[in-house]
């Protein structure tokens, strides 16, 4: 018999393995729907009239699609300004966080100095302090420094990330020490090693940290609410609240604004996803095995 006529051996599939597969797919779909529903609800409410938003019983899809809501919401308030402010704050916090975390992480991962473990534990300990507890002391410091209603007042307190330092430290530890030793012999300084060897190899972790930090700051509501008043420095989450006035709440405009404000985060996630997933293949370049 020629090879084409041979039937590849396949283990017989049993009923219960198929049933388990079907059930798990159903379960996963259900969870996915649960996560997707708020987004759907947001968009669905963004394109209907405000009176229809609160209609009882609620309707999944609008009676009448008002696509113009996006334009109206944009024109109603200085959304361009809010976007710019959000970009400046989230972008700066992300940039500072990555640089500071990378430096701290390298020290924790590779340099030997007294008290290293203790400081690391203290770093991690700060993860357990909820932000609301820090808000008042932080505000007092920032106002003493005269940074209320400024970009630096919004950026600096948010730019420390013990999570970032820890995440990068763990990643740095997985990079073979020989690479650094080879670079030391090649004549590189510690800073040069960090910049030319460690960071390029850690792009997956840095991409992940950037994404988390950026989206976290993009969505941050509490801190801008406290240090900012007025429209000049308001970020998007603050801007959205301005659709709530004494005359009433424009729910459909809030939803339209929220939909618009999601877009940069989604684009960033799509852009960074390739870098983040690349982490899986980085190991292939090390060693001979």
């Amino acid at each position: 018999m020629t090879p084409e006529h041979r039937i590849p051996h396949q283990p017989p599939r049993q009923f219960h393995t198929i049933a388990i597969e079907v059930l798990s797919l159903l379960g996963l779909s259900l969870v996915a729907l649960l996560f997707l529903f708020p987004f759907f609800w947001m968009v669905s409410n963004a394109v209907r009239g405000n009176n229809e938003v609160l209609a009882v019983p609620p309707r999944l899809l609008p009676n009448e699609y008002q696509w113009g809501n996006f334009v109206e919401a944009w024109l109603h308030l200085p959304f361009g300004r809010f976007f710019l402010n959000s970009f400046i704050v989230a972008g700066s916090v992300t940039a500072i966080t990555v640089v500071v975390s990378a430096l701290a992480a390298y020290a924790f991962a590779r340099l030997k100095f007294p008290g290293r473990e203790g400081i690391l534990v203290a770093y991690l300990g700060t993860l357990m302090i909820p932000q609301v507890m820090l808000v008042i002391p932080l505000f007092l410091i920032i106002s003493k420094l005269g940074m209320v209603n400024t970009y630096q007042g919004m950026i600096l307190p948010m730019a420390f990330s013990s999570f970032g330092a820890f995440l990068l430290r763990q990643f740095f530890l997985s990079i073979p020490r020989e690479l650094e030793e080879a670079a030391l012999i090649d004549g590189a300084s510690r800073l040069r090693i960090l910049v030319s060897i460690i960071i390029p190899l850690s792009m997956p972790a840095i991409g992940l940290l950037s994404l988390f930090t950026f989206i976290g700051q993009w969505n941050n509501f509490l801190w801008p609410l406290i240090v900012v008043n007025g429209m000049e420095y308001a970020t998007l989450p603050l801007g959205l609240t301005m659709f709530q006035t004494q005359q009433g709440t424009a729910w459909n405009f809030i939803m339209a604004g929220a939909t618009l404000s999601m877009i940069p985060g989604v684009i960033l996630a799509i852009l960074l996803q390739r870098i983040i997933y690349k982490g899986i293949t980085v190991g292939a370049g090390f060693g001979g095995r």
């Binding site: 090649d186 030319s196 190899l201 370049g285 001979g288």
Partner: protein
């Protein structure tokens, strides 16, 4: 190029002393291999020469400079690592050029030096590939290219062949040796493989537990091992070592066989506990001699290794004759008397001259 001197070099890890005063002189252009079982301190010693480990006591001198407190980059050395340590995110060309870029040479100069080194190692067609796109042997060669591109005073190799398969290892062994003969660079090479040591070295340093057991040319070590450890470590299959007592007739082993004394010995007294050493290839088929029971036959083609039982002693013979040997049968074997080694049992030191 430069000579290399280790002067009473000691290494402590905390309280633990892992190197106990190593003295070694490596001539300019010499290829020296540090060999020993794992944990003997050979890699630590190499890393101390490189500047990757601190020196607890003693001096390391490269050329005329004491380098104890110099950074690795200031020592004018290059090192090839066991896992090659190629920068995964850089192409082969950039891997080789990294050190040159750091020393702020001009672009044209760097290109010329990289191309020259690539030419020596036949890497020209690989310069634009990433390390992950190379085979193990190619990576090994790039690692060497990265070392030679800087033209350092001393080359250091840390078990560079242990990640390669057997055939490639033999090939790369020859390439490294050929490279050394071409560049005449002072080289210190660490391995746990005594065959690598024997085939590549101008001189071998045998280490154990942080001590240097013997320093010498490969054949010196083979023919005149200074002690029982070196005798057993160098050579494959390893030397037969049989414990016994000196009597007026020769050496009587625990099994009761009498072995003749080597012709020239020093400091041997009757009743002394000794160890007889005989390399497997120094057993000859004979009409008289020991009656040996064959336990196991391992033909290698060029010779046949036979595990034997001689009055309770398990010994190995390597026979070049192709005779039919069956386990359980007996064969008459005689040792070559001019090739017997004798060691003191207590100290392990060599007694035969």
């Amino acid at each position: 190029m430069a000579s290399l001197d280790l002067i009473d070099v000691v290494k402590f890890y905390g309280e633990l002393e892992v190197l106990h005063g190593v003295d070694l002189h490596v001539d300019d252009g010499e290829f020296v291999v540090l060999v020993g079982p794992s944990g003997c301190g050979k890699s630590t010693l190499l890393r101390m020469i490189a500047g990757l480990e601190t020196i607890s006591f003693g001096d390391v001198r490269i050329g005329d400079t004491i380098v104890n407190d110099l950074q690795p980059k200031a020592r004018d050395i290059a090192m090839v690592f066991q896992n090659y340590a190629l920068y995964p995110h850089m192409k082969v060309r950039d891997n080789m050029a990294f050190s040159l870029k750091l020393s702020r040479r001009s672009r044209t100069e760097i290109d010329a030096m990289v191309d020259h080194a690539a030419g020596i190692l036949d890497l020209g067609h690989l310069l634009d590939r990433y390390p992950r796109e190379l085979s193990g042997g190619q990576r090994q060669r790039v690692a060497m290219g990265r070392a030679i591109v800087r033209d350092p005073a001393v080359f250091l190799f840390d078990e560079p062949l242990s990640n390669l398969d057997a055939k490639l290892r033999v090939q790369m062994r020859a390439e490294i040796k050929a490279l050394h003969q071409r560049l005449k660079a002072t080289t210190v090479y660490v391995t746990h493989d005594q065959i690598e040591a024997m085939t590549m070295a101008d001189r071998i340093v045998v280490m154990r537990d942080g001590y240097v057991e013997q320093v010498g040319t490969p054949l010196d070590l083979y023919d005149q091992p200074a002690n029982v450890f070196v005798a057993g470590f160098i050579g494959s299959p390893s030397m037969n070592l049989i414990g016994g007592v000196v009597t007026d007739k020769g050496v009587r082993t625990e099994g009761g066989t009498i072995w003749p004394m080597p012709a020239q010995t020093s400091g041997v007294t009757e009743g002394q506990q000794v160890v007889i050493g005989l390399r497997p290839e120094h057993f000859m088929l004979a009409d008289d001699g020991f009656v040996a029971t064959i336990n196991l036959v391992e033909p290698t083609g060029s010779e046949t290794h036979v595990a034997l039982d001689i009055f309770g002693e398990t010994l190995t013979a390597a026979l070049r004759e192709r005779i039919v040997l069956t386990p359980g049968a007996t064969v008459n074997l005689a040792p070559r008397l001019d090739c017997l080694h004798l060691f003191d049992k207590a100290s392990g030191k060599r007694l035969s001259l």
